[in-house]
Symmetry: C2
Subunit: 185 residues, 2 copies
């Protein structure tokens, strides 16, 4: 029982530690909500069941401590957890982003599909993009007033701006593509 301390954790584990690094104590359920609100834009929001199993592992490793009963347990970082996370931030190899883009993948094969399907797909993507962007901007607004240098949410604010700008630009690209597809017909 327990975990092999010599093995590296998956990045998702560090991400969850990161979500716990803002000073509060969260239940698995709340942690999942926070992941849905923020983490999902730059990483992935793990399934509920994975949140619980990951918390169990982190607890076994002594990186988080729990309080409360079986009915409702909340977790917070231990000092070891905090130092492991800081160490990961400072020394782990970063790597290049991986994008799984089902719209681009299908556009690549656009010749195989009904032309109307391609157009609809891109239009639907525009709508989805707007929705996601609105959700992200809501998060961004909730950080206002605590987003200046030295404030606790400065970095989350920077990342949220990054995401917004990404969504905004993606919109203009897709609009462009729609135009190019139609002028050529």
């Amino acid at each position: 029982m327990g975990q092999d301390l010599s093995r590296d954790l998956p990045i998702t584990a560090y991400a969850l530690l990161g979500l716990l690094s803002f000073g509060d104590s969260l239940t698995g359920y709340e942690l999942k909500q926070r992941a849905d609100r923020t983490l999902r834009f730059y990483w992935v929001s793990p399934a509920m069941s994975q949140v619980y199993s990951e918390l169990e592992r982190l607890h076994d490793l002594g990186l988080v401590k729990s309080q409360g009963d079986a009915r409702s347990t909340s977790y917070s970082l231990t000092s070891r957890g905090s130092s492991v996370l800081t160490d990961w931030m400072n020394t782990s190899p970063v790597g290049f982003p991986v994008l799984k883009h089902p719209v681009a993948l299908r556009l690549l094969l656009g010749a195989l599909a009904d032309p109307a399907r391609v157009t609809n797909m891109l239009r639907d993507h525009l709508a989805a993009l707007d929705e996601e962007r609105a959700a992200l901007e809501q998060v961004r607004h909730s950080l206002e007033g605590q987003d200046q240098p030295g404030d606790p949410f400065r970095y989350p604010a920077l990342v949220a701006d990054w995401g917004s700008s990404y969504f905004e630009h993606e919109r203009t690209i897709v609009e462009d593509l729609l135009r190019r597809i139609h002028e050529g017909t």
Copy 2:
């Protein structure tokens, strides 16, 4: 033996079928190279071993046919493979992109890291971005002359332009972030 025909294939299987939909016949090895050159920008380039196992499954399902011996086997689409792929293009739910962005994830937690580390990370990301973009633009150039409406590589060209524009914009965002981080210090 054989595969359960009622089950859906993973998207990666359709992606591989898609790479075989340009009329030629490829070995597993060549298919992996094509994935490394193109697919990796919008999806993921599967490991060598997965390419082989996926090809075996597609063969079992009658979606690709093989020619050659055990020394070197090349695969091409069957008409069933082609119609399954077209059907997937026209009817499958598309879904929103998933981005796993280790740089953004770490920037979110930037407060925990050495400030120099954050800066270096972003600068390294700029360099990596330029490399990736150069690779993609090389692909794009190889499509020139066959990228007009009606040409075989029109859609791949559109997607390559999408990718280029994405890399370009990501560069400007990161440059902006670097500026914002330094003016606030």
